[in-house]
Symmetry: C2
Subunit: 223 residues, 2 copies
């Protein structure tokens, strides 16, 4: 595989995926896309930028779709400043199916833009960092979603763009383990949804990160 | 149906669809979205704005994704100023399958954003103006495409957003006929891909428009 597009958020999963595509899959030219979509935790973008440079990507772009935060105003605690990011412990079973941290149709938006870009630069492959844990609350991180978006893209008559999510069936701790083997520097990743200077430790994303580090019996370099 | 989102380009088909949703389908609240995506024929946006006002939509938004022109640079004559929009007569059969005027993955991008918006405002329905003629060259204007994007969206666990294209099996002349019955003012629509002050008359889009007016034996008010 000589050319691929990757969705890079600056979180643990997509960062691991970035290094995985370079080192394990030996993709020679990686084109990374990050999105400014009104997320409170825009600190993740600094991390994405750092990781992209460190991995030696061919191109790194930050796509500004902050209008998407307005378009989906009131619908997600990830973008709406008037909505609090909940603690994982406070979510009941019903809420977990599609939690307040879900952003309406976000991943389809990201992947659609990535597919237009991939087609343009003649890259056949797009990578995104969905992992097994996400499926509890995010329909756009499931294997069904992946299959169906690929069914859409397969209708293209000239370009053959395929979306891959190699970690789709791996738990976060397994992803972390792969990253450790690849020498990923997790001090340059950002996970906390609340986007403060220090990770809160209690939002759904922080809890998952902590559990993953605990499972592999390592200290999180972010502390 | 009390609330729907419509993709409004300012061309004949989506303009007709706008009035069709209001008058025929009796949608009480229509939310129109237009996109600035680097198209040369941005004159169509003036028309979209005029038609939205005239139809009395509940909300009209122009979403600026002009970065999409950069992201797909060199891939479409509709957005790249260094590429000429071809005359329809100059396209051979192979080129017509996916002509230079195709914009990589454009409609999936538009519909993805519209779906996020629809979900946010609790609209279950999205309308877009694909019609039967488009399928010759645009995979993202086909019934298969519609079915498959709906298959993606149906995975959503809380919202039930469906994309409709009521003109999918109608020829452009049939769409025009419906529009005439509905009293659509076609002097406030824009079709020419070349985006000059006067329609060129020879680009694929102009040729189709002229043929539709000829078929219904009417003069095009744009001249």
């Amino acid at each position: 595989m000589d050319r691929a597009v990757i969705l890079l958020s600056g979180g643990m999963d997509s960062t691991t995926l970035l290094h995985y595509t370079k080192k394990r899959l030996k993709v020679s030219s990686v084109y990374a896309l990050s999105f400014i979509y009104g997320q409170k935790h825009s600190r993740e973008l600094e991390m994405a930028r750092w990781q992209a440079r460190f991995a030696g990507v061919t191109d790194y772009r930050e796509i500004d779709i902050s209008f998407f935060g307005d378009l989906t105003a009131g619908a997600s605690a990830l973008t709406d400043v008037s909505m609090d990011v909940p603690d994982l412990a406070d979510l009941d079973e019903n809420q977990r199916r599609q939690p307040p941290t879900y952003v309406p149709n976000r991943n389809l938006v990201f992947l659609s833009l990535a597919a237009g870009y991939a087609e343009t630069i003649s890259a056949q492959d797009i990578f995104y960092g969905a992992q097994a844990h996400d499926k509890y609350g995010y329909w756009d991180c499931t294997a069904d979603f992946l299959d169906r978006i690929n069914a859409v893209l397969s209708l293209n008559r000239e370009s053959n763009v395929i979306v891959h999510a190699p970690f789709m069936r791996k738990r976060k701790a397994e992803v972390l383990k792969i990253g450790m083997e690849l020498g990923v520097d997790y001090s340059h990743t950002w996970t906390c949804y609340r986007g403060g200077k220090v990770a809160c430790g209690t939002c759904p994303s922080c809890v998952e990160r902590a559990a993953a580090f605990e499972e592999v019996a390592l200290a999180d370099p972010l502390g």
